[in-house]
Symmetry: C2
Amino acid sequence: MTAERVPLSRARVLGAAVAIADRDGIAALTMRRLAQDLGVEAMSLYHHVANKEALLDGVIEVVMAEIAEAVGEPVVEDWQAAMRARVLTARQVFLRHPWAARVLETRTSISPGVIAYYDGVLAIFRAGGFSYDLAHRALHALGSRALGFSQELFDLSDPAADAEAEAMVQELAEHFPHLAAMVAEIAHDDPDSALGWCDHQAEFEFGLDLILSGLERLRAEG
Amino acid sequence: MTAERVPLSRARVLGAAVAIADRDGIAALTMRRLAQDLGVEAMSLYHHVANKEALLDGVIEVVMAEIAEAVGEPVVEDWQAAMRARVLTARQVFLRHPWAARVLETRTSISPGVIAYYDGVLAIFRAGGFSYDLAHRALHALGSRALGFSQELFDLSDPAADAEAEAMVQELAEHFPHLAAMVAEIAHDDPDSALGWCDHQAEFEFGLDLILSGLERLRAEG
DNA sequence: ACCTGAACACCGTTCAAGT
DNA sequence: ACCTGAACACCGTTCAAGT
């Protein structure tokens, strides 16, 4: 936008890429569009990122740096409260960048930022008295939830699917009685769905607490 | 391959698409390649699927039909054992189609096959004495695990990342002492990683059972 | 009704050339 | 060292035309 004469740098390229994805979605993030926003030819980008995949790797590093700053140093007392706070803080960053979860999942190489985040998670587990074996299984049990997001495969309260889904559920109510009954019973009037897939705060916290308290039980048993 | 004179049909198109993804990965599934495998021009496909997105929708329906056949009618006694069996059976199908989980997550429209699967899940919860409210929260807690898969964001035992990751972990051991220690302690010699993301059977079952037993506790409390 | 061929508007990326 | 312009090899898709 401004600062036309600032020379291109990796940081400027990645920053502009995040801005495009935030504003217009991840599909809008093309090399040509990115170059245009930077006032440069597309090919100039290749001096700062090796290719499109490397660009996406870099964009994830930006997001993970945001998370690292937000969560700070791992707290080492009351592991369950510390984990809960860490995850919910990270989640706020993903709510700001709804495209980031999907990009993160498509990375093939290991991201140093993700590694650093998980090392902090492990620090909390260890301080809470977990063996490395239990901590390892805990990481698997949490999956992406450790980073603050969890995909739902369909969303009955998705505002985007409103008309279509409502008609569909209506139409299919006779075939799928349980789903129809559940939808009818549950008042879904809180519109705080933000991650594209259904991921309401209360429901995320329910799943998180269910896993954390299960882990605490296993830890206490030794 | 064979059957050159069989007229094109939606079923043949979707079957060929699944075969391409299974054999050469989801990136190989292009309209042109699909047409070529069917001995037809690319544009002919558009008489049987509206566009590429509709093709992917259809491909998911094929996978969900495989799952529906594999899981059968929902069992209605011992909800926990029934859910466990249903999920692990569905998981087998995803292990046969490693690309399917990612495609499923990118669907924007609701898939009838997924709806039907979840209706069966709800039938099991209800027969086990769950309220619709608890069943709803249970679906969120399980997330994609209800369908048999869970993405891990990085995989320390991924054979593909072997050399690179090992060197990296080595190099970064001083910065990430907990991860390094955990990797060193855990004997990762079972090579049954199959879904691309780390998703070993034992670790999947650990997470699944942790959630299911947590849900049982909540159900018993009323 | 079903299939075709050429064409269009996009991609990411290579390469030789400029400063 | 950094950036450019043209070009290449791909995409998904439109359209008018064939049978």
